[in-house]
């Protein structure tokens, strides 16, 4: 056992840090660090910069154009990116549909889609949840009926993230009603420009448009856009869950956020006019989250270092539960630190060109919106209650 990074890993960290310092556009970093509104272009621009360096897909193997980095290198890269204020790379293409295409897609699908995900040309989104199928995802009803060389897709997907920017959507669709609900599901790749697709915004509790309903009305999808075999889609979706054991922990992002909350607590004043950080009650809460984040980081590194040797245990669910709880706790503390200046709703001030007046500090503008927005952490990606079901039933055998 040795908890220190090797000299090679330290050198790698330095190389990453220097690259980011030279190449990350300042306007993007400013937005990320101050939690201002990011545009599609910000995310795509950063993806193209990484792509040019050969780092477009830190988590992919080399044969598909990835970096071939090991788990610890990926962790270091993520830490450096989040610390510097780089925007998060879009998960839907890189981390979600790509591994499925690599493992189960046809050669043609691999050759066409993977390079376009890598270069940032294609923006992907996800079509899993439906109005009647949330935690009970396998009950989904969106139908895909074979008609010659096409599937005809009808139904509604919901809780779709950033689909209004998307070029493609990967969907779980019902191709059979025989047998158990899981046995009639297929994994389809659908061009968002297809006639019959309607994207309707869902405004979330923070007043922002990030999420959509997507309606499919007799949408024609060529059969070559089926991934793998018909009715095996559930297996592919589950493969994805097992594939990404540490991604939902978000350690790098929470470390950066912890630094931000500390900084806010040093600038904000308590009732006595002293910096808020000197208030014991607030500080103890922050310390408690710091301890839990440290434990999360160690668990994450432990899984990255030894996980591949073992059968999947409770770690993916553990990291999702703890990661979401810690992120939520930090956003809550950030809001609390702002005191009553968290109240004003000034969404226009999330635009970096905003030159109007603020109430209190800039960090107060997104504080409550972030808190409201991030309640989703414990709901999406398999709610934390579903994660506890997975641990108790799949891992512990209850």
């Amino acid at each position: 056992m040795d908890l220190n990074y090797t000299p090679e890993q330290e050198a790698f960290r330095k190389e990453v840090r220097e690259f980011i310092r030279a190449e990350l556009p300042e306007d993007i970093a400013y937005k990320v660090k101050n939690r201002l509104r990011l545009s599609k272009d910000d995310t795509v621009r950063w993806q193209k910069i990484l792509y040019k360096r050969g780092w477009g897909a830190p988590m992919w193997p080399k044969e598909f154009g990835g970096t071939g980095w090991d788990a610890i290198q990926q962790h270091i890269f993520d830490e450096e990116c989040t610390a510097a204020g780089a925007p998060r790379q879009l998960d839907f293409g890189l981390r979600m549909v790509a591994p499925v295409i690599m493992a189960f897609g046809s050669r043609e699908q691999q050759d066409y889609f993977l390079p376009r995900i890598l270069s940032g040309e294609h923006w992907w989104c996800q079509g899993y949840s439906e109005p009647g199928s949330g935690s009970d995802l396998a009950s989904l009803k969106t139908r895909a009926v074979r008609d010659g060389d096409n599937y005809i897709v009808n139904g509604q997907k919901t809780w779709n993230t950033l689909g209004h920017h998307a070029d493609w959507i990967f969907c779980l669709v019902r191709t059979s009603t025989e047998g158990r609900p899981q046995q009639g599901i297929s994994f389809l790749l659908i061009d968002m420009k297809s006639p019959g697709i309607t994207v309707r915004p869902i405004i979330m509790l923070d007043g922002e448009h990030e999420i959509n309903d997507i309606f499919f009305d007799n949408v024609q999808v060529p059969v070559e856009n089926l991934v793998g075999e018909e009715n095996k889609g559930w297996t592919y979706a589950k493969f994805l869950l097992g594939h990404e054991r540490t991604g939902q922990a978000n350690v790098g992002a929470w470390k950066a956020l912890l630094r931000r909350v500390k900084e806010i607590a040093r600038t904000e004043k308590g009732d006595d006019g002293r910096p808020l950080i000197e208030n014991t009650r607030f500080r103890d809460r922050l310390a408690q989250v710091e301890v839990e984040l440290l434990a999360l980081e160690m668990t994450c590194l432990r899984v990255l270092s030894t996980g591949h040797k073992k059968a999947p245990g409770p770690e993916a669910s553990l990291l999702k539960i703890k990661g979401s709880e810690i992120g939520q706790a930090l956003y809550e503390l950030a809001m609390q630190a702002c005191g009553h200046t968290a109240l004003p709703y000034l969404p226009e001030a999330l635009d970096p060109t905003y030159s109007g007046e603020l109430v209190g500090a800039l960090h107060a503008v997104p504080a409550a919106m972030d808190y409201f927005n991030t309640r989703k952490f414990s709901i999406y990606g398999g709610s934390n209650e579903i994660q506890r079901n997975i641990i108790s039933q799949m891992v512990l055998g209850l």
Binding site: M1, M298, S305
Partner: protein, 381 residues
């Protein structure tokens, strides 16, 4: 970055787990804790033969030259079996102090004797009103001739009655809470002026109140530099905390395994109680708590042994004690609760795991104490 045990550590772990499961059964432990001395000399001899008693001592002093990760493996196995032998007091605390701060003569005299199983030691540091403050030492050591005379009282000294030698902290200068002026002395447990009142602890281990009345020691009894012992004590306690964290992880694993088994076998309302979601989720949270604690026990072991940055060491060890203490409480209470009425009987092992986990949280500072350390570090960070 490597979290894997070495091949030797893996073998040590396998050997110890087998030993605990086969030779240190719960019934065996019942006999041991009911005995006069409260530990098993026979088990202690076995530990010596296994090399456990000198695992972190240099080879020239009869040790194996291991590190805190070896201690982690040992303590984790001991936690699984609720082992009550004086390993923490003798090997981790006192052996560690001699190894890190003792003179050549002290090392030669003591380390091989500890490693061989011939000598038990106890660390007589805390006093009845010191709570967890390491610099609160009222016991005095007055210079007389070329030696010292010790006066004072030490409280809840782990295995103080069983030890042949004590390491006693005493003030050679300064006020009761000063950081400077504390010294460490090696004292024969049966020296004139030493009186000991031994007792059982809540978790069936042993401790003692120790009085020192005009106890005379020679100059060669001093460990390290006069008046400069606080950093040594802090490090020894940090190593002790790391060991306790590992022990807690072993105890949590065992408690969780036993609770899981109970959920699968105990039937109510016509089905195993583990089919009820409200119990499933509590069990899942207990498993999560134990995994997070395991991560922090590893961090504590890594940091406790580093010497170059004491503030960083203390910070991380405190963070570990916070999380392990809180996890130990959650797992202990949950395990008892899920066992229902059986959980609050003396008959079931689970109540004994609960008691040990509770005492581990208290020992060397509870979660709140260490949280205040982590919290205060935010002021300077």
């Amino acid at each position: 970055m490597d979290f894997n045990l070495s091949e030797e550590q893996q073998q040590l772990q396998d050997m110890l787990r087998r030993y605990v499961a086969k030779d240190y059964t719960f019934d065996k432990r019942r006999q041991i804790v009911a005995s006069e001395v409260g530990y098993s000399p026979e088990a202690w001899k076995t530990f010596a033969e296994m090399g456990l008693l000198g695992v972190t001592f240099p080879e020239e002093f009869g040790g194996l030259g291991g590190n805190a990760f070896d201690t982690l493996v040992v303590m984790e196995a001991f936690g699984r079996g609720l082992v009550v032998e004086p390993y923490l007091a003798t090997v981790v605390l006192c052996g560690g102090l001699i190894r890190d701060a003792g003179s050549q003569a002290q090392k030669e005299a003591l380390l091989p004797a500890i490693a061989g199983g011939e000598l038990l030691m106890a660390f007589a540091h805390y006093e009845v009103d010191s709570r967890y403050a390491l610099s609160k030492v009222a016991t005095t050591a007055e210079k007389r001739g070329d030696g010292y005379v010790l006066n004072g009282a030490k409280s809840v000294v782990l295995h103080g009655e069983q030890a042949g030698k004590l390491i006693v902290s005493a003030r050679t200068s300064g006020g009761e809470r000063d950081a400077d002026g504390i010294s460490l002395f090696l004292v024969d447990a049966d020296a004139a002026g030493v009186s000991r009142r031994g007792y059982r602890t809540q978790d069936e281990q042993r401790a003692a109140e120790i009085k020192l009345q005009n106890v005379q020691v020679g100059a060669d009894a001093l460990i390290g530099e006069e008046g400069k012992a606080l950093p040594l004590i802090e490090r020894a306690i940090d190593l002790g905390i790391a060991a306790l964290c590992a022990e807690a992880v072993g105890a949590m694993d065992a408690a969780n395994e036993q609770t899981l088994e109970y959920l699968k076998t105990r039937k109510q309302f016509g089905q195993p109680i583990g089919k009820f979601q409200v119990l499933q989720h509590r069990m899942a949270d207990m498993v999560i708590a134990a995994e997070q604690a395991r991560s922090m026990a590893i961090l504590a072991a890594a940091k406790a042994q580093q010497t170059d940055d004491p503030a960083e060491r203390r910070h991380k060890v405190s963070a570990a004690k916070v999380l392990v203490g809180q996890s130990a409480r959650a797992v202990g209470q949950g395990a008892v609760q899920l066992h229902g009425g059986m959980g609050v009987t003396d008959e079931m092992p689970i109540s004994h795991y609960f008691k040990r986990l509770t005492m581990i949280n208290i020992l060397f500072g509870d979660a709140d104490h260490h949280l205040s350390k982590v919290s205060d570090a935010l002021l300077s960070a």
